[in-house]
Symmetry: C2
Subunit: 479 residues, 2 copies
């Protein structure tokens, strides 16, 4: 058994002891004065100071204690005189586990640009910023599962490969085992998908919602949490071709129940991270403040990172209808001074600039907008009695815009069929979905939360490629 180490996170919370011997293992962040190792093992953003007493090891070994090298150290925990730490390890043995040639190691003890670190995404986990981001990403993921588990939801693994393209949420990736060089064709010249692995044309899923509804209308309340895909050629700081999404779906719930749950959910996630990742958040809060110093005043965020999270945590979300949102925008100084790039009128899809105006300037807290025009929303959303709008809801958050999109689903078979015909979705491809409306249909609703958007929001990072381990974007599929 090799692993007899104590994790640095646990060690830093212990009191000094004159008798207890500890073993630590980790990577050297810095080595000062041939004496002070700042050691990190990934369990916390904080380093353990390992003191190498004069004469403990020979010069040859001292030279191998370099940034990036991995070491094993044993010793006693003593009170530290250094600032920022209560204890340090007084080493009695030091062993090199793996060397790191300082001439070649790409991570030097200095500030690297996020762009550079993206190129070496396999090593960026070793930096303070990214280890914080990925510990927080973990905490958020765990909080997602804990939230739904506590409420009795069933985690449903909806399929990744699918033959359904009814949702129409975006362009799709094809999944195939046919040879591209010479794909088999039918007599009419079209591709013969009966020879493909699944015997039909298949894609990567864009959403697990439709399958989620099948689960919810039997198990009551379910949620998905899995990868989803968009083959959109969008090279922006907000888009990924592969991202993770959370989609709860609840039987016996209407749009108001849906809003309540989504609000509670977002606040739960934020509270969880504030309680469990205070050190990481403090670091990222400070990092953001430093970053913003180089920006002109009008580009800086109105609130600091932790301040922003507290605003979301401590305020009821504002609830307005789409129609009210349009009225607010039309009456706004921004509109009158022609500050919006996109025009405003009833029927438009709200643009990011509109959403951010509502949240950041007008209400200064998260906003839930409901009752969108049916023509800009999906076919499965429940039609309101006005004949014009559907029971949709979007949640808009400061600094990020839309973070949740959801709706009550159309549970009335006749209305659903009519809407499908209207938008041209062939009902014979959707028999399984329609069955839930044929047999014991119930009012139900659900929403989707883009997980990376949530991680962006909580970490204060600004490029979505920096909150997923290995980003997939157009012309980029490294690692």
């Amino acid at each position: 058994m090799f692993n007899k180490r104590t994790k640095i996170k646990a060690l830093l919370e212990l009191a000094p002891s004159e008798t207890q011997e500890y073993t630590v293992m980790g990577w050297v962040r810095t080595f000062r004065n041939n004496q002070f190792v700042a050691l990190n093992d990934g369990s916390t953003i904080n380093n353990l100071q390992v003191v190498v007493p004069l004469g403990l090891v020979d010069d040859a070994l001292l030279k191998r204690i370099t940034t990036g090298a991995s070491i094993k150290a044993q010793g006693k925990l003593v009170a530290s005189l250094g600032k920022g730490q209560k204890v340090e390890l007084n080493a009695t043995t030091i062993e090199i586990l793996g060397d790191s040639d300082p001439e070649k190691y790409p991570l030097q003890p200095k500030k690297h640009s996020l762009e550079f670190l993206r190129e070496i995404a396999h090593l960026r986990f070793r930096t303070q910023t990214f280890s914080s981001v990925f510990r927080i990403r973990h905490a958020l993921a765990f909080a997602v599962h804990q939230f739904f588990n506590e409420k009795g939801f069933v985690y449903l693994h909806t399929p990744i490969v699918t033959s359904s393209d009814a949702e129409g949420a975006g362009e799709m990736f094809r999944v195939t085992t046919l040879p591209l060089e010479n794909a088999p064709k039918k007599e009419d010249g079209s591709i013969d998908y009966t020879q493909d692995f699944f015997g039909k044309s298949t894609n990567l899923t864009v959403s697990g919602q439709l399958e989620g509804e099948l689960g919810a209308t039997a198990l009551g309340e379910i949620y998905t949490f899995g990868p989803t895909f968009r083959a959109e050629n969008s090279n922006t700081t907000r888009h990924l071709a592969e991202f993770w999404m959370i989609e709860p779906e609840m039987a016996f719930n209407d749009i108001y129940d849906n809003m309540d749950l989504a609000e509670e959910f977002i606040q739960y996630l934020i509270k969880y991270v504030m309680e469990h990742n205070a050190d990481d958040l403090a670091f990222l809060d400070n990092r953001l403040k430093e970053e913003e110093k180089s920006l002109p005043m009008d580009k800086r965020n109105e609130f600091g990172l932790i301040e922003k999270l507290q605003i979301v945590l401590n305020n009821k979300f504002e609830r307005i209808t789409y129609t009210e949102a349009i009225e607010i925008l039309l009456a706004s100084p921004a509109y009158k001074k022609k500050k919006f790039k996109y025009d405003v009128s009833w029927g438009i899809d709200l643009q990011s600039e509109h959403e951010r105006y509502l949240v950041e300037k007008h209400f200064k807290k998260p906003v839930i907008v409901t009752g969108y025009p049916k023509d800009i929303k999906a076919f499965y959303m429940r039609q309101n009695d006005d004949g014009k709008t559907v029971a949709a809801m979007d949640i808009l958050a400061p600094g990020i815009g839309e973070i949740v999109g959801g709706s009550q689903r159309e549970e009335r078979l006749d209305l659903l069929l009519a809407r499908m015909a209207e938008v041209g979705i062939p009902s014979h491809e959707m028999e399984f979905y329609l069955d839930t409306r044929r047999f014991g249909s119930v009012p139900h609703s659900g929403f989707g939360l883009g997980f990376e958007r949530m991680v962006l929001f909580v970490t204060g990072m600004t490029n979505i490629r920096d909150v997923i381990p290995f980003a997939r974007t157009p012309k980029n599929c490294e690692f």
Copy 2:
């Protein structure tokens, strides 16, 4: 707000009350004597008996209370005289939420075959068997996250779409946006992947391990839990083209630490389900006993479902080397009587029949086999000093065979490079992986657990298509 219901699971644990009024919503399982509704809402395998007093509703409504219909009922909780339940709901109002035409509803209150239910996978969640299976699947998934979270592991979302094919774990699905009808070609006639979405040839992942190692050698301990894919044309009860896998990876761990963790992990999962899903397990235990009555004696399982789980829970796993396993097999009565279909000699890949002999006949408990011949294992496994074997481990479980495969990874750059050259893996495609051995390399190990295999094991189901919501297999991609 529509949802003011109490879930049936919670209600069944309450004491009768003469004052408190409850609302329940769910689907009718059966309706006896125009009086007794067996209502289920998916929160538990147990139905709530809703008593409809004579004259409460008119005949037209009574006729609509059919199997599969959804209803909302209000009333008081009273002590039940019926068997198997302590309380029942004495209805004061009954409302039909959604009808279910008994002539058309595919799920009748009788036993359906698993094959038939597979065809209507969108409705099988409404049966006792499948609601139990999917509640247990949920519980297992949550237990996975809780286990690793408690230990300070970071949940890492490794990529689904990948350009790497180094692991060689099996045939892969291509992911592409190129038109199959007329994929662009280079001058030499080969496909021009620079025009594909990612600018190169891409596939669905077969394992997150290599990326997991990148995380572990910075964050310390990580795990993945995500979908993985095999484009193998295997139409068996044990194979899926899309399945979920859990892959922990630990820095500073050797093969013995790895075994300890895997054993603790499996026992933790089983214990969690036995504590949280006792009703579901009791049902499945009984279901299996009934199923087996139709089998000849020699095809029946040696142990009942719960009995089998207790054996795994209460025994230290046996640990033997591959060489010892071969010796045991060669000395076995089964071998001497030529009962094995596949021959036994040092160097073979153990077949399912061999694994099950070791577990079920010889040791009668789970077995961990270590030290496999290097030629039948992957390039990244750590080479033992004998020059012949690697620090691999497989965990074999009763009734299912291999459930976990893992190894200590080769952390020595020179030995890793030599092995890659030997098996023909070009090192230039793996620079990112090799960097972890160049800069602060550490002893590390990990394993993979096929999640559906674990669900099979815990539920006693025998076809892997019955433990995933919507199975993907050759020529089958429905829903």
